[in-house]
Symmetry: C2
Subunit: 123 residues, 2 copies
């Protein structure tokens, strides 16, 4: 009996990750996504790990990390376990930036709410 490792078609990955197909191809082209496997016809077949990695990318992207830095993270990840301390450092720095973003947004939100209150007061 053969094992059938779960494998995802492009359409499934789009569905699963929320990235467009064009974005997936783009990420592969620039090296954010390691060379994805292909079937006989040359069509992409993504693995479970690819999905996981794309989840990480989505998280980094959605917290405003520029592609250049995601690329650095990707390279560290490919380079092997000895880069884990570097990866921790990178993520910790990013975490601090995210924290800063949140604080900043909270501050701005106060400003906006004040403005709304002011507008209400002059009606």
């Amino acid at each position: 009996m053969l094992f059938r490792v779960s494998v995802y078609t492009p359409a499934e990955v789009v569905e699963e990750t929320g990235f467009t197909l064009d974005t997936l191809r783009y990420y592969e082209k620039i090296g954010l996504l390691e060379r994805v496997e292909r079937n006989a016809a040359g069509q992409r077949r993504f693995t479970e790990q690819d999905i996981g990695w794309l989840g990480m990318l989505r998280c980094l992207r959605d917290t405003g990390m520029p592609i250049a830095q995601m690329l650095r993270f990707a390279e560290l990840t490919r380079a092997g376990d000895h880069t884990i301390p570097d990866r921790i450092k990178l993520l910790e720095e990013h975490d601090r930036r995210v924290e800063g973003q949140i604080d900043n947004l909270q501050e701005r939100k106060r400003y906006i709410r004040n403005k709304i209150s002011y507008y209400r007061s002059v009606l």
Copy 2:
């Protein structure tokens, strides 16, 4: 005795608002900033109100409002007090989006921290 209304040179506004001079000119060109006054030599002289308005723009920009929508807000503001309900509506919608951004960032931050913990655990 004459009043000297406080007026700001471009350099002062850059200092005060954190926008670059190019950005200020750009904002004026596209109509985000109403025609700024000039001295005899044609140089910009910003008023207190300009500074206040720029504060609002900075807030909207830093919370991710696209320029097209800031422009809409600018037009409402210019149109007079009868647009205040519309302005409130616009800001409330934006406030909700900002709230969403914050929630999203907080979620992502959890993911990043988990990842960091995981990396720590395998060291």
